[in-house]
Amino acid sequence: MAALVNRRTVISGFILLALVFPFLTKNSYVLHILTLAFIWMIAVYGLNLLAGYTGYLSLAHAGFFAIGAYSLGILTVKVGMNYWLAFLSSLIITCILGLLIGLIALRTKEHFFAIYTLCVGYIIYLVIDKWDGLTGGVRGLIGIPVPAGVGPLSFEEPQSQYYLILFFLLLTVLMVYRIVHSLSGRTFIAIRNSEELAKTLGIATMKNKLMVFVLSTLFAGLAGVLYASFIRFIGPDIGYITITFDLLMYLLVGGIGTLAGPIVGTILIVWVSQSLQFLQDFRMLIFGPLLTLLIIFYPRGIIGAFYEWKIKRQEKKRMRALIKKHKDAEFSDANSVPDKKVKEG
């Protein structure tokens, strides 16, 4: 129970920190980077649901991120649709495409799935890059509007954008938290452990995988939509494989298949990247080997390593308690009654 209270405090503390952060810094650049990190986190959560909890490594997520971003860009700039209507439509478009691609992609497994999604991601990138008439090709789309005001709220200022995106991030985390801690989440984990076993436990694996896949593309799309109206310019590069690899790195460093992983990993890598800015294009000289070393030595990232340490500590405590109990039992026989026979169910 103490641990729960403890965790609650930590979470509340972080949310509070995120809420007051714009007042703590006058540096608009820092705020800009942090807002961008929030956007990546949303996409990473999507990837985490699929790769971390269900065991399907999708390499097409930059593609879905780009689909979300371009849908919004095209609908607002070219079609001139109402912002929030375009926002919603973009998410729906991403989900529909996710559903169609998922229907086929999820028939494949493991390596085939990774390669298949890698190719799907590349197709999405190529289409965006070549379909000049629709996407603006290599020139990209300029002048995407900021989110339209809702009632008294306006999102013109960087601060208000920060809060809007923080809101969506918290919503994402809440959703993922609730899903992971539910029968649905257990179902996904069962599929990750062994699809064959899951099936014989009566789980409709295809249906469940498809749900995760679509949900995961929804988050990627949401991140893309937010990105488009935050940066207000998009080019084909946002759909390129390097973005998928970035997302993957955030996830792995933080901890794949953990709830806090996406936040920890993204913040850390974005922060380190900023401090290593002189490296720019060469940051992969550090992050590439880091990714490889992590997967060899700490496959569940920072958060995973932390949990392992905590479990080991608890284990030690338990052992100590057990030894103490045994010592006590030597004095009084009260504790040494043999275990009761298992009662009939």
Binding site: A51, I104, T292
Partner: protein
């Protein structure tokens, strides 16, 4: 007719390169069941090493290629030892991610050493010749001949030598190979050596007709994956055949469909294949 035969020759040339890259990929997959995403980086490094040897030390093309084969081959072995070997019992998602990590590192490294510029590689075989009524450069002929020679050598090595047959044996049954006393570690290292060498040859042959840049391996590796899925993951004849099929479809597609979208052909092919055969074209039904 003229355009057609010209395009068929082009297809043959591209196909030769694809086949060589896919061969290395399929060998590694057959032995270790690793989809080696870093193979594209090996290809890229192969081109750079050859280029550097030629520019820096003025070594002859063929000698530079030999050095490149050695360097990339050894690098590939190093990769197996340091990364894939420790991960041999890990869940399948891990070695893919590790391979991606290596790929990102090597690309950044290449950019650090050689810069991000597109470079072209000179060749002593730039002259234009007339071949059965086709006007082609000598280099393109070399690519085709070179690829066939390498494939024949590989075939002879795998079929006619003891060491080669252990590779085949291990590809068919890893546990079994271990039981009959094959040193699986050595075979794995040897396979990576060959795989890296093949990538270096392919890149060195193709570089004079393409450009050399840090990201040059991306498309090639993706297409090589398409090819080995087309030809059956782990299958050697499948990789060769698949390489040529893709080469032809691309060069014909570029001429008769759209040059802009020619790179999509491979991926559409893959998407279609996996839609109907989720385990690849020539997957065997297992128990």
């Amino acid at each position: 007719m003229d355009i057609l035969s010209q395009q068929l020759f082009n297809g043959l040339t591209i196909g030769s390169v694809y086949s060589l890259v896919a061969l290395g990929l399929t060998l590694v997959y057959g032995i270790l069941h690793i989809p080696n995403f870093a193979h594209g980086a090996m290809y890229m490094l192969g081109a750079y090493v050859t280029l550097t040897m030629m520019l820096l030390w003025g070594i002859h093309y063929w000698l530079a290629m030999a050095v490149s084969v050695l360097v990339v081959g050894l690098l590939s072995v190093l990769m197996e030892r340091l990364v894939f070997h420790p991960l041999r019992n890990a869940p399948p998602i891990h070695d893919k991610i590790a391979a991606i990590g290596i790929l990102l590192f090597l690309e950044a490294l290449a950019q650090l050493i050689w810069g991000a510029d597109y470079r072209s590689m000179g060749t002593p075989y730039g002259e234009v010749i007339n071949l059965f009524g086709l006007t082609v450069t000598m280099q393109r002929v070399l690519i085709n001949v070179g690829a066939v020679v390498v494939m024949l050598l590989l075939y002879l090595f795998l079929k006619k030598t003891m060491v080669g047959s252990t590779i085949i044996a291990m590809a068919q049954n890893r546990e079994g190979a271990h039981l009959v006393g094959i040193n699986t570690n050595k075979v794995a290292m040897l396979t990576f050596l060959i795989s890296g060498g093949l990538a270096a040859i392919a890149a060195s042959l193709a570089a004079p007709i393409n450009l050399v840049f840090p990201g040059m391996g991306h498309l090639v590796i993706l297409k090589a994956f398409v090819i080995i899925i087309l030809g059956g993951m782990g299958s050697i004849p499948g990789a060769i055949l698949g390489g040529y099929i893709l080469g032809f479809s691309e060069s014909l597609g570029a001429t008769y469909l759209s040059n802009d979208y020619k790179d999509i052909i491979a991926f559409l092919l893959l998407v279609i294949i996996l839609s109907f055969r989720p385990k690849g074209l020539f997957a065997r039904e297992g128990f």
